[in-house]
């Protein structure tokens, strides 16, 4: 397998893993809310989800360089 295909697979796999993480956190958030857990837990989960989206989907780290340049 050439390096291009490996990179492609890695990025697609990472997308799937991040999506699964977000889905699990959303389900957990819903469960905690209906079980009347403290709201602070929901905010913590929301911040975790936001962090995942900012880092892996929005690639905020690219701001400091021209990574992924095109």
């Amino acid at each position: 397998m050439n390096p291009m295909n490996i990179k492609k697979m890695d990025e697609l796999t990472r997308g799937v893993l991040v999506f699964l993480g977000l889905a699990v956190l959303t389900a957990l958030e819903y469960f905690l809310a209906v079980s009347e857990f403290p709201a602070i837990l929901l905010w913590i989960i929301a911040l975790l989800k936001a962090g995942l989206v900012l880092w892996f989907f929005m690639h905020i780290f690219r701001l400091s360089g021209s990574e992924g340049g095109h």
């Binding site: 991040v18 809310a33 701001l63």
Partner: protein, 196 residues
């Protein structure tokens, strides 16, 4: 070294990737400024309603949240695909993202707004709910329009693995809309006790 060559070396605009860097910076400055709008709405919700929340259909809220989450996954897939030169994958994933975006709008505006037991003029919960979901839905709508333009250009073959800034910008905008909903969803549906 001639004067022209020296000025090209000293000019930061001559650096490779300069335009991409400034494009990204501009986009993120827009996100920050737009983030203040949504942040203000979030503060408004807690200032006006405190420990109460609008009386809403919980299951529908979970469904539209899931739809937006899945759309973000396909948007990421579309961006990765075009970055790898997979034009077919890019078109398919963008198309799915658009359909899910429209699905989200139908869920919120078509069902949630219609099913809500209060109108925009019915007190604080009406003002908070319709303002927050309306502003967010407007951003989803503009995101869908952005994606339709990007899809059309992609089908014309205007993007390559080396040159696809518009796709990156559209993807980031879409993820930003998802990011806002990550905070709006618990604020509107989960935190506090429902108004009777």
């Amino acid at each position: 070294m001639s004067g022209h060559e020296r000025s090209a070396v000293l000019d930061p605009r001559a650096e490779p990737g300069y335009k991409l860097k400034t494009n990204r910076l501009g986009l993120w400055l827009f996100f920050i400024s737009d983030g203040f709008v949504f942040g203000g709405l979030l503060v408004m919700r807690f200032y006006l309603m405190g420990g109460q929340r609008p009386h809403l259909e919980q299951f529908l809220g979970l469904i539209v949240t899931a739809v937006l989450l899945v759309s973000s996954f396909f948007m990421n897939r579309a961006e990765v695909s075009i970055a790898q030169g997979n034009r077919k994958g890019f078109i398919t994933s963008t198309l799915i993202t658009i359909v899910l975006g429209v699905g989200f709008l139908v869920g919120v505006v078509g069902f949630e707004w219609r099913n809500a037991p209060f109108g925009p003029g019915d007190g604080v919960q009406g003002a908070v709910f319709y303002m927050m979901t309306g502003m967010h839905a407007f951003h989803v709508l503009t995101g869908v329009i952005f994606l339709v333009i990007v899809l059309r250009n992609g089908m014309r073959g205007l993007y390559t693995a080396e040159k696809h800034w518009a796709v990156e910008a559209a993807a980031n905008y879409w993820h930003f809309v998802d990011l806002v909903w990550i905070f709006f969803y618990p604020a509107l549906y989960l935190i506090g006790t429902a108004v009777k």
